[in-house]
C-alpha cells in the first residue's frame, strides 16, 4: 500500500516531524479557501501516486488568489500519466537554500533495513545512486535493536550535511526510522528535506509505502487505504475485490494460472511464441470452482483480451475443481466471449479433463502447445 502525500504528511506531523502547513482540497473554491488559511505563497500539488509530478505539470507555486484559481482549475481534473487528479494539497511554500534526501528502506539482500542520506536531494534518488553512488551515505540497522542515535548521526555526517543543521537532520532520520518500524513500512523517504534560509529543516515531500502483509495489524492505515482508493483502474479494483494477484498489461492474450512463477512463465511463453500478454492473474493455491469462475470473469472484463489461456499445474489446486469452475463460468454465457484454451496437469488433472465441457474450450496437453494455440486464437480474433 502506498500512502498519498497528504496521508503520509499527516502521519509525519503526528510523529512530530516538521512539515509545512497544508490542507487538502477538491474544488477551486476549496483551494482558494485553503490558500487563505495557509497563507501565500502556496504550492498546489496533485495528489496522485506517480513520480515526476512536478515535471508533468502537477505541481504549481502560486502567489495570489487569481493564480491559485487558475492553477487549481488546470490541475483538478487533469490526467497525470494516466491518473485522474481529483484532489490537491495546498501547502505553504518553503523558501529553501538546500535540498537533501533522507530515507529508510529494506535491503532485501542483507535482510535488514538501510537508512540513506544524500545532499543531492530534490532529484530522483535512483539516478543519483546510479551516477554518483558516493553521494549517498548508507547505514544498515539491526532490525531487532532498531536504529541507535549514533547511526543516524553517522549517516548524516558521512553524507556531508552542513554541520549547523546536521543534528536536526539526524533527528528527522531517527523519527523516520521509528515510523518505518512502527507502521510496518517497506520504504519511507523525504525527498527533499529542505533547509531554509533561516536554517530550519522542513520535510517538503513524503513517501511512505506499507507492507500489505502487515496491514492486518494497522487499522489506522487500512482506513487510509480505503479513503485514498489507490487502485489504478477499474480492473485492478475488481481484482482487489476478488482477492487475486493481478497485473494488467497491454497485450491481447489473457492469462490465468496458479502460482506466481508458473503464471510469469506463461506470460513469458506468450511473448516467446509471438503473442502479447494481456495480464498476470494468479488464482493462488487450492482455488475452488467459484474462484476459477471469478478469474474468467476478471479476464473477460478486459476489452483488450482476444483469447484466454488457462494453465493449471495442480499441487494443492485440484484439476476437477478448476474444470468445474471453467464450465460454470462459460455455461453462463449465451455465447463464449473469446476462445479459451485449457491445460490441466498435476493433482486430479484426469478427473478434470473428464468433467471439462470441451464444446466450450480447446484442450491442450502441454504448456507450450496451450500457449501457442491461445496466441494463434488471439491473432485470428484481432484480425476480425
Amino acid at each position: 500500500m502506498k500512502l498519498h502525500e497528504y496521508q503520509a504528511k499527516q502521519v509525519f506531523a503526528d510523529a512530530g516531524l516538521p512539515v509545512p502547513d497544508s490542507e487538502l482540497a477538491a474544488s477551486v473554491d476549496e483551494v482558494v479557501e485553503a490558500a487563505d488559511r495557509v497563507g501565500y505563497p502556496v504550492a498546489i500539488k496533485a495528489q496522485v501516486q506517480v513520480g515526476g509530478r512536478g515535471k508533468a505539470g502537477g505541481i504549481e507555486l502560486v502567489d495570489s488568489e487569481e493564480e491559485a484559481r487558475e492553477a487549481a482549475d488546470r490541475i483538478l481534473g487533469m490526467d497525470l500519466k494516466g491518473l485522474h487528479v481529483d484532489r490537491v494539497l495546498v501547502e505553504a511554500a518553503v523558501d529553501f537554500v538546500n535540498e537533501l534526501y533522507v530515507g529508510v528502506t529494506m535491503d532485501r539482500n542483507e535482510g535488514k533495513p538501510v537508512a540513506m542520506v544524500s545532499t543531492k536531494g530534490g532529484v530522483d534518488i535512483e539516478s543519483v545512486a546510479e551516477e554518483t553512488p558516493e553521494a549517498i551515505s548508507r547505514v544498515h540497522v539491526d532490525p531487532s535493536f532498531g536504529m541507535h542515535p549514533f547511526q543516524a548521526r553517522k549517516a548524516v555526517y558521512d553524507a556531508g550535511v552542513e554541520r549547523d543543521v546536521a543534528m536536526d537532520v539526524a533527528s528527522v532520520l531517527t523519527t523516520l526510522y521509528q515510523l518505518w518500524d512502527d507502521k510496518d513500512s517497506t520504504d519511507i523517504e523525504v525527498n527533499p528535506v529542505m533547509i531554509t534560509s533561516d536554517r530550519e529543516v522542513v520535510c517538503a515531500d513524503a513517501v511512505m509505502n506499507i507492507d500489505d502483509d502487515a496491514l492486518f495489524r494497522h487499522a489506522d492505515l487500512r482506513e487510509m487505504e480505503e479513503e485514498g482508493d489507490t487502485a489504478q483502474d477499474d480492473l485492478e479494483a475488481k481484482a482487489d475485490e476478488y482477492g487475486f494477484d493481478y497485473v494488467r498489461l497491454s497485450g491481447n492474450t489473457g492469462i490465468i494460472g496458479n502460482g506466481a512463477g508458473l503464471v510469469m512463465t506463461t506470460l513469458d511463453l506468450v511473448d516467446y511464441y509471438g503473442g502479447e500478454p494481456a495480464n498476470f492473474l494468479d488464482i493462488g493455491g487450492g482455488a475452488k470452482a467459484s474462484r476459477v469462475a471469478n478469474a474468467l470473469d476478471m479476464v473477460f472484463s478486459d476489452e483488450n483480451v482476444d483469447s484466454v489461456v488457462f494453465n493449471i499445474f495442480g499441487g494443492i489446486t485440484r484439476g476437477d475443481e478448476v474444470a468445474k469452475g471453467i464450465n460454470e463460468a462459460l455455461e453462463s454465457f449465451d455465447e463464449i466471449p473469446k476462445p479459451v484454451v485449457v491445460r490441466l496437469a498435476g493433482t486430479n488433472a484426469e478427473e478434470g479433463m473428464e468433467i471439462l465441457n470441451t464444446d466450450l474450450v480447446t484442450v491442450e496437453k502441454t504448456l507450450e502447445d496451450a500457449v501457442q494455440r491461445a496466441v494463434e486464437y488471439a491473432d485470428t480474433e484481432a484480425d476480425k
Partner: protein, 289 residues
C-alpha cells in the same frame, strides 16, 4: 543421498491442528515422511491421526526426538513459530506460511544467523527427497528418485519442470522450493552449495525469477565453487517494472534492478545454459548428464 531431508528425518508439525496443517500432515505421512509430533500452544496432550501433540516445540523435541519442523501457522503468528523452532536447535525448519510481514522476517533472519539451523521459506512449497520424505505441500506423485537436484523460488513452476524431467526418466535427489518472499532463509547459494557437496547429485536445475539479486549471487557462486553442472530458468522476462508479480519478492525495481535479462546473462556468463521454455530446461539437463 540427498540434501536436508531423508527417511531418517523426524518431523514436528507446528500448527498441526489447523486445517492446512492437518491436511498436509496426512499427505506427508502418506508419502512416508516420519512425522513424530505436532506442536500447538494449548493443544498439548491431544492427538492428530495418532500423532502426539505438544504445547511447545521444545517438548516435542525432548519427547519425540524431532530434528526438523514444518510451520503451518497463520502469518500473524508465523514469525513467533519460527523463533520458537530456532530456539530448539533443530537441523531444519520449513516455513510454508505465505504473507509473513517483511519486518518480522528481517528479525527472524537476524536470529537465524546466530544458529546452525537451515530455514527453508517462508512462502514456499517445502522440499522433497523422492521416495523418502517430503516436508511441505508438494504433490509427491510427480517426483521420482534420481540424480538431479532442483532449487526454485516458485512452487508450481517446480512441478512443471519436475514433470518434464520425470517424464523423460530423469529423477531427482532432492527438490527444494525456497520461496518467493524478499527475505528468505535458505537461498540459491546455500542450496547449490549443499547439492555440490552431495555425491549423488550429478546436475542441478535452478529456477529463478525477477526481483533481488539472489540469482546473480548464485551465478557468481556457480562460477567459482561448483563442479556439478547447473541448468537454469528465469521467470518474468515480460514483467513490467514496479509491479509485484504475485510473489512479494518478484518485482523489477523502478531503476531496473532485478530484471530477467540481468539474471539470465549472469548465469550464462557462469556457463549455465538458460532455457527459454520449461521443456528446454529438461533438454539442457539431458545434455548435461
Amino acid at each position: 543421498m540427498s540434501i536436508l531431508v531423508d527417511d531418517d528425518t523426524r518431523v514436528v508439525v507446528q500448527g498441526i491442528t489447523g486445517g492446512e496443517g492437518k491436511f498436509h500432515t496426512q499427505q506427508m505421512v502418506d508419502y512416508g515422511t516420519n512425522v513424530v509430533a505436532g506442536a500447538v500452544p494449548g493443544k498439548g496432550g491431544q492427538e492428530v491421526d495418532g500423532i502426539p501433540v505438544y504445547d511447545t516445540v521444545s517438548t516435542a523435541v525432548d519427547e519425540e526426538d524431532a530434528d526438523a519442523s514444518v510451520v503451518f501457522v497463520p502469518p500473524a503468528f508465523a514469525s513467533d513459530a519460527m523463533f520458537e523452532a530456532l530456539d530448539t536447535d533443530l537441523d531444519l525448519v520449513v516455513a510454508i506460511t505465505e504473507g509473513v510481514p517483511q519486518q518480522d522476517m528481517a528479525r527472524v533472519y537476524k536470529r537465524l544467523s546466530e544458529t546452525d539451523t537451515h530455514l527453508v521459506g517462508p512462502n514456499c512449497p517445502g522440499l522433497i527427497t523422492p521416495g523418502e520424505a517430503k516436508l511441505g505441500i508438494l504433490p509427491g506423485n510427480i517426483f521420482s528418485s534420481g540424480n538431479v537436484g532442483l532449487v526454485s523460488r516458485s512452487g508450481t513452476l517446480t512441478y512443471q519442470v519436475v514433470d518434464s524431467l520425470t517424464q523423460r526418466g530423469i529423477g531427482q535427489t532432492t527438490a527444494v522450493g525456497i520461496g518467493g518472499d524478499p527475505i528468505i532463509g535458505t537461498d540459491f547459494v546455500d542450496a547449490l552449495g549443499l547439492f555440490e557437496d552431495d555425491p549423488d547429485t550429478d546436475a542441478v536445475v535452478m529456477c529463478g525469477e525477477i526481483g533481488g539479486e539472489d540469482e546473480e549471487e548464485a551465478a557468481a557462486f556457480i562460477g567459482e565453487h561448483m563442479d556439478t553442472p547447473v541448468a537454469g530458468f528465469i521467470a518474468g522476462r515480460t514483467a513490467p517494472p514496479g509491479k509485484r508479480m504475485g510473489h512479494a519478492g518478484a518485482i523489477v525495481s523502478g531503476s531496473g534492478t532485478g530484471t530477467a535479462e540481468s539474471k539470465i546473462s549472469a548465469l550464462q556468463d557462469a556457463g549455465v545454459p538458460v532455457g527459454d521454455t520449461p521443456e528446454e530446461v529438461a533438454d539442457n539437463v539431458e545434455d548435461l548428464l
